[in-house]
Amino acid sequence: MNERDAAALVADLVGDRAGEWDRAGRLPGDVLAELAGKGVLCAEVPAEHGGLGLSSVDNGELTAAVGALCGSLRSLLTSHGMAAWTLSRFGNAEQRATHLPRLTSGALAGVAFSEPGAGSDLSAMTTTIVRDGQSVVVSGRKVWVTGAAYADLLVVFGRHGDGAAIVVVPANAPGVRIERVPEPVGCRAAGHADVHLDAVRLPADLLLGGAGLPVTLLATAALGYGRLSVAWGCVGILRACLAATTRHATTREQFGVPIAEHQLVARHLAELHVAERSATHTCAHASRCWDAGTPETVEATLLAKHLAATAAARGAAAALQVMGSAGARDGHPVARAYRDAKLMEIIEGSAEICQLALAKHAIAEWT
């Protein structure tokens, strides 16, 4: 299955039901089972582990296609894909061979970073991962774990000795309790949940490599995938806004003409077009760097995430303005875009955290 087949499958399964899922706050189990079972939700996993083996560029276009239809499903795809990427990067050959085929054959995964006292400052994490003979014991509380309400596996970050570690926690392990976030402002059906880990004892072979490295290093590596995926999802949000507003503005008449002929409305459409094109080009550049494996990937990914998320938030607000009352109800694609895009400025590195890193980059490059 290539990127276009995968996008067609998603379009077929989602149909016009994303608004309904948003209002209900749930994605249907059969849809998730089919997409996860075919490896669509972590499409860069190589064929040897049952994945589609897509490049970052192709997976990016798939992500945008999903994001244009349903922000909640796209958000789940981001988290599941990030879990698979983290397993690929930090798992040894045996761990990859054990876990990746599960993630391409139906099991769903989430990634747990944030805690009540550790959001942007992940070094304040207090969850512990302690080695005890042939076991590891995981204790703590994670918040806002995307997809946790649906997950079979959780990739959990925590303190480990002087540094940090990553452990794969089966969601049904004794001591794991998952509690849905009630009514999130956006991506309402993405299954955000708090995860309570009460002395969860697991076999030590669920501990991934890199144990002992600083938490910021482990998290930065894992978040790279998530940031690029969010950025492509924002391209999808902008495309959904363009589809809705251009249709509306050319058919809705006020003062005797289609509203697209009013210059202030036309300006919104122009700016949406600019936002979508610039986000697409920036994401495509970052994905090409990712595929080439060059160090430039790190900065290009941050740039793509920041540009696309802020463009989507601004663009979706303008799109709702163009739609007026036609888009001003929950479940409408533009209303969803408006709420979902705001979350994109917060997750996977807030706009401000991206700006801090980009400012350092600018200073390093220009001084």
Binding site: R89, F90, G91, N92, A93, Q95, L208, G209, G210, G212, L213, P214, T216, L217, A219, T220, A221, G224, A292, G293, T294, P295, T297, V298, E299, L302, A357, K360, A364
Partner: protein
């Protein structure tokens, strides 16, 4: 550099150039990258990607230890050891 034979000198020179460019001053090969505190986690990731792309290697999970990245000498050893394993 991924196909031909890579010598310790070549790796060493390449890393000195990469780090000097980043630090904007000549890099002392004995200097501890992490003791200075001047490099961020984003830089550490860039460094791993540089080693992988410049020398055609895959740094596996078991090699992701700070001591392998602490100095130019340690990284040179790591690159040669991974390339020596073959099949990369």
């Amino acid at each position: 550099m991924s196909t031909s034979t890579v010598t310790a000198t070549a790796v060493h020179e390449n890393l000195l150039e990469f780090l000097s460019k980043r630090a904007k001053s000549p890099w002392d090969p004995e200097q501890d990258l992490f003791a200075s505190g001047s490099f961020s986690s984003l830089f550490a990731l860039e460094l791993v990607m540089h080693l992988e792309s410049a020398f055609g290697i895959a740094i596996e999970a078991e090699d992701l230890r700070l001591e392998h990245f602490r100095t130019v000498g340690a990284m040179t050893e790591l690159v040669l050891r991974i390339r020596g394993r073959g099949g990369e």
